[in-house]
Symmetry: C2
Subunit: 387 residues, 2 copies
C-alpha cells in the first residue's frame, strides 16, 4: 500500500497537539476512530499521549519546533493552556489553530480574563490587581478577609495561590508569591461549584453538555457529578458561555468554571480547552468532549451532548487505587493515563455510570470506600450522595 493512496482517503487528517498529556491522549483515543492521526509536541519523552501518535520532543517556547509541527499537520490544537503566545501565533500563521490563540492568550492572565468577562457584562469574583505590597493592603481593605492571593499567570490545580485569613497569612503569602504579578480575589462562600462545557464547530454550530457539579480537594478536582442542576441555571450558564464563544470567534471546546451563589453564577475561571470536569462525557454522554472537540476543529458535524445516564467521575491523584477492586463495582469505567505516580499528579480517573440517581449513590459510596482517602468525606458533601 503506497503512502499516496493512504493520503487520498478522506479520513486521514493529521492533527497537531501542543502538549502530550492526558487531555491529548484522550483526544487521540476519541479522534483515531474518526480517521485522524496525531502528532504531539511536548518537552517530555515520557508524554503519555506519545504512544498514540508521533511525539515531537521540544520545549513549548521552541517556536521553530511549533513551525515544524505546523508543517506536518492539517490543523492544530493544544491540551495545555500555558503554551506561550509566540509559539501559538507562529503555528497559527502556518496552519489553523483552534481554539484561537486570542482565547489562549486571554486566559493565561487572570486579570485580563476578568476584564474580558466584566467587559461582556458577566459576573466574576470581586478582585483587585496586585503589583506591590501596597496594592495587596488596598485589596484587603476593599475585599476584606478572607481573600485568595493568586499569581496572574501559570497557576493551575491550586498551585500559585494562597488563602489569606489574617495578618499572619498575609505575610506568608507575600513572601511566597510577592515577586510575581498577582491578583487578589474575594473568598466566595459559594453554595456549589460547577462547570459548563460547550463546543462550537467551524461553521458556528454550538452545543452544550449538562452543567456538572465539581468538588475540589486541596485545589484539585476530585469529583464531578453530571447534570446536577436545574434548567434555569443551565440556561444562565449557556447564555454566559455564548457571549464568550462569540467574543473569541471560537472553534472547539470551551469550559467555564462557576461558583453558584443564591442561584446566580459567578465565573471563576475560563479554560479554553477540554476539561477534567468533562471526563464523564466519555462514558456518560452521547458524544464526548474529546470527540466533539476533534469534530469541531476538523470541520466535521458535531454530535449530541445529552447525558445517556447518571455519571459521576472520581479523579485519581497521586496514585491509582486497586483496579480490580474498583472494577468489581457495577458501572465503573476505568481510565489509566499511563503516567508514573507522583504526589499531586492526575494519573487517571474512573467514571461511574448508572440508570438512576439512587443506583448511582449506592455504587458511588462503594467506590468512594474502595478508593479511600478523602473520597468518602468528599462524596458526603454532594446532596443526595450521602448515606
Amino acid at each position: 500500500m503506497t503512502q499516496s493512496v493512504q493520503n487520498a482517503l478522506p479520513g486521514l487528517s493529521r492533527v497537531g497537539v501542543l502538549g502530550g498529556g492526558q487531555l491529548g491522549r484522550m483526544m487521540a483515543i476519541a479522534g483515531i476512530p474518526l480517521g485522524l492521526k496525531f502528532i504531539f509536541l511536548d518537552p517530555s519523552a515520557e508524554a503519555c499521549a506519545g504512544s498514540l501518535g508521533q511525539l515531537l520532543q521540544a520545549e513549548f517556547s521552541d517556536v521553530d519546533a511549533a513551525r515544524r509541527l505546523a508543517a506536518m499537520v492539517d490543523v492544530a490544537t493544544f491540551d495545555f493552556e500555558n503554551v506561550p503566545q509566540e509559539t501559538a501565533q507562529a503555528l497559527a500563521q502556518i496552519k489553523p489553530l483552534y481554539p484561537p490563540s486570542k482565547a489562549l492568550g486571554s486566559c493565561q492572565d487572570r486579570v485580563v480574563e476578568k476584564e474580558i468577562l466584566t467587559g461582556l457584562g458577566i459576573r466574576v469574583t470581586p478582585y483587585h490587581t496586585v503589583s506591590s505590597r501596597t496594592d495587596l493592603l488596598d485589596g484587603l481593605d476593599k475585599l476584606g478577609y478572607p481573600a485568595v492571593l493568586k499569581t496572574r499567570r501559570l497557576g493551575y490545580d491550586g498551585k500559585g495561590q494562597a488563602v489569606i485569613r489574617d495578618q499572619e497569612d498575609l505575610e506568608r503569602a507575600w513572601q511566597q508569591l510577592g515577586d510575581q504579578e498577582l491578583i487578589l480575589e474575594a473568598f466566595v462562600k459559594f453554595d456549589a461549584e460547577c462547570s459548563l462545557i460547550a463546543v462550537r464547530g467551524t461553521g458556528g454550530e454550538t452545543r452544550y453538555w449538562p452543567l456538572t457539579r465539581n468538588v475540589h480537594s486541596e485545589g484539585i478536582l476530585a469529583l464531578s457529578l453530571a447534570g446536577d442542576f436545574d434548567q434555569a441555571l443551565q440556561s444562565q450558564a449557556e447564555g454566559i458561555i455564548l457571549r464568550l464563544l462569540d467574543h473569541f470567534d471560537y472553534t472547539g471546546v470551551l469550559t467555564l468554571e462557576f461558583f453558584v451563589l443564591d442561584d446566580e453564577l459567578l465565573v471563576n475561571e475560563i479554560a479554553p480547552r477540554v476539561h477534567n470536569s468533562g471526563h464523564w462525557t466519555i462514558d456518560g454522554a452521547q458524544i464526548s468532549q474529546f470527540e466533539n472537540h476533534m469534530r469541531a476543529i476538523t470541520g466535521m458535524p458535531l454530535g449530541g451532548t445529552a447525558a445517556n445516564c447518571e455519571a459521576l467521575m472520581f479523579n485519581w491523584i497521586g496514585h491509582l487505587p486497586a483496579r480490580a477492586q474498583i472494577l468489581s463495582i457495577p458501572g465503573v469505567h476505568w481510565h489509566d493515563y499511563g503516567k508514573a505516580a507522583r504526589p499531586g499528579r492526575k494519573i487517571g480517573h474512573a467514571t461511574l455510570t448508572a440508570e438512576s440517581r439512587q443506583e448511582l449513590a449506592v455504587n458511588a459510596r462503594r467506590l468512594a470506600a474502595a478508593a479511600g482517602g478523602m473520597f468518602p468525606c468528599l462524596l458526603n458533601t454532594i446532596p443526595g450522595m450521602n448515606a
Copy 2:
C-alpha cells in the same frame, strides 16, 4: 521517569496480539484506558493496529517470532482465527494465550467444528464431508439442491464457498474448489440470521450481550441490529454457548452465528474471538466486547453487557461513504480503521444509536440513503426498519 517506576504501576500489563487488523486495533482502543500496552504480530507493515502499539512484523507461520512475542508480553490473544495451531501452541507454552488454542484449532476446520457441536447435542446445518467428487454427489443426494460447498479451512467473508443450485453449478463449484478438503452444507432457508457474543473471565464469570440480528450481502456482514429477539431465543442461545464455553474451558470473548428457523437456533459458525456483529457494543452497550475481552484475558472483573440504547451497525466495505454527510445524521458514531480502500475489504463501520426503535428506524433510513449502494435495500429486509 525511570522504566522501573512505570513497570511498578499496577495498570501496565503488556498484551500480545496475533494479528494487527481492525479487531486488534479496537482491542487496543478499549484496552489502553485500562492501563494495557499492546504488541501486535502481523505480516504487514501497514497493519492498522500497529499505530496503537508496537508492531512485530512476521508471518503467522513464524513460530520463532511468536516465541519472541511471548517473551515481550504478560498475556496473549489473537484477532485473526487462521493463525496456525503450531504458532498458537508455541506461544501458549511460554505465556497464557486466551482464548485457548484448543478452541482456535477446532474452529479452523468446519467439519471438526460441526462434530464438536453435534457431540454436545447442539443443532447445526445438515452437512456432508467431501474429499472426492463421489462424496459431493453422495452429499447432494442426501441434502438435495440447493446446497453450499465450502472449503473446510481458511474461508471467511464468503470466500472459499459456492452455492450449488443445479448440475451446472456443481461442475463450476468442483472446478473452483475441488482440490481442497471440503464440506457440503444444506442451504438453510432461515427466517433470520443472528449472533450471540459471550465473555468468560479467568475465574469463570460469564456474561452475554443481547442477541444481534445480522444481514449479509455477498457473504459479508452488512448490518447488525442489537437486541432484536425475544427472551426465549436469548435463553436458548445462552444455553448453547454455555456448553461451548465449558467444553473449551474458555477465557475471553466467544461468538456464535446462528440461523433462526421456526424459533429454533441452528449454529452456522463459531468464532473464537470478538466479532464484527458486536461492534455496536462500543457505542451501544455498557461495556464493549473489546473492553470485556481485555478485562477477561487480564483477569480483571467483567463489566455490564446490557444495551444502553437502540443500536444498528453499518459495515463499510470497499470504500468509506462521505463522512461529513453521515455524521450529520443524529446518533452516528464513526469508526475508520485506517486501512486503505480495496474492493471487498472491511475498512470501517458506523453505529447508529437512538432512544427508541422508531427514532432508530427514521435515522437508519437516512443513513442507508446517505451510504447508498445496497444499504437501502438491505435495511428494508429488517422488520420494523422499512419505510
